[in-house]
């Protein structure tokens, strides 16, 4: 089965549910409704043999409605085909069904999204923070969260202070000097 055939069988089963479809460098992206995620995920795994969930990521389109977007990167080992599923989540809902029972690797990816974006996953077996500590009150990857952080106080757990941003935010300027000139060597060339 080729990528084209996979697409056709996907369209046959869920054609009317695809909100948006785009292709970039032979990789297809479907935007699907959040309510059909689990059904589509199971179909992709069992019928189309997308047996490998590469990554789950989230996007904060701050100022737009719906605000959040979640992206599932799928790969089929038997066919060697990539597929991307996108779905939109509004800030009021801020919750999606879990796919951690479909692809076990989604467990920690979903925890990371919950930790960084504050989107909950219904039916997740262990939805705790994974990078920040339990009790941290913010979701730091949201666009309205400042890079230098907000102070937080959690007695016996942890704390954060606002980091100094003097002279920042910092922008890199391309240098015209070659790396040889920029980075002096302990041992000069020719020795």
């Amino acid at each position: 089965m080729t990528g084209q055939e996979l697409l056709e069988s996907f369209n046959k089963s869920f054609g009317e549910k695809i909100q948006y479809q785009t292709e970039f460098r032979n990789e297809t992206t479907f935007t699907i409704p959040a309510s059909d995620l689990r059904e589509i995920a199971k179909f992709c795994r069992d019928e189309l043999l997308f047996d490998y969930l590469l990554d789950v990521t989230s996007i904060d389109n701050f100022g737009e409605e719906p605000r959040f977007e979640i992206v599932y990167h799928l790969y089929s080992m038997p066919h060697g085909v990539h597929l991307r599923l996108k779905l939109k989540v509004s800030e009021d809902v801020s919750a999606v069904d879990t796919v951690s029972d479909v692809w076990p690797t989604a467990n920690w990816h979903e925890r990371e999204i919950y930790d960084m974006m504050g989107i909950k996953f219904n039916g997740h077996p262990d939805l705790r923070r994974i990078l920040m500590w339990d009790g941290y009150p913010y979701f730091p990857l949201r666009k309205d969260f400042p890079l230098e952080g907000l102070p937080s106080e959690m007695p016996d757990v942890a704390f954060t202070k606002v980091t100094p941003m003097e002279g920042g935010p910092f922008v890199t300027i391309p240098s015209t000097a070659g790396s040889k000139d920029r980075e002096p060597r302990a041992r000069p060339p020719g020795l």
Binding site: F159, T160, F170
Partner: protein, 189 residues
């Protein structure tokens, strides 16, 4: 070095003459207690390798044969804080890790020292962000800061030598037993 047990003020006068006794000359050394203690401390610093990021790679290189931290008596990396003298904080300290670092420091027995190795441990380095502690000196008393990102092994060795210098100038005995020191000095005078 042989240290004579039970140095008492009453027989101090006799002991002063022992240096001129030809039978034991060369086997007995007179020094200040603090100097002897510092000498012992500074030449056998057992590091706690608090390797948190890429600086730890340079720390490992320092311990390996090419740079050989054993030349300075600090080759015994201990992974139990109970057996350590100096904590080398090598790497980025995140807020989540910070309290673990502090706890390990508190578990180390006195006397203890801290080396902040590299930009991140000293000031947060390039990580001006919500997740990173802006310098381990906000939690621990740091003795030596080493610049670099990461510092070369020579820089770590230089930092270690700075710490040895600092230890040489300590006077723990004088601070902790001032009455006894006064008594000894009176006896010697």
């Amino acid at each position: 070095m042989r240290v004579q047990p039970g140095i008492l003020p009453s027989n101090m006068a006799e002991q002063r003459s022992t240096a001129y006794d030809s039978k034991i000359e060369g086997n007995v050394i007179f020094t200040r207690f603090d100097a002897a203690l510092n000498w012992v401390h500074k030449n056998s610093l057992w590091p706690m390798p608090m390797g948190l990021a890429c600086c730890a790679i340079e720390l490992m290189a320092t311990a390996a044969s090419r740079f050989d931290i054993a030349r300075f008596g600090a080759e015994v990396m201990r992974f139990s804080p109970r057996q350590c003298d100096v904590m080398i904080v090598a790497g980025t300290v995140t807020y989540k890790m910070a309290l673990a670092v502090k706890r390990i420091y508190e578990q180390m027995p006195e006397p203890k020292w801290v080396i902040a190795m590299g930009a991140c441990a000293s000031t947060g380095g390039m990580y001006r962000s919500y997740a990173v502690l802006q310098g381990i000196d906000q939690l621990l008393p740091v003795d030596v800061y080493i610049s670099g990102c990461p510092p070369r092994p020579e820089a770590l060795l230089a930092g270690l030598m700075k710490l040895q210098e600092k230890i040489s100038s300590e006077h723990a005995f004088r601070d902790q037993k001032p009455a006894l020191v006064e008594k000894l000095e009176d006896a010697l005078a």
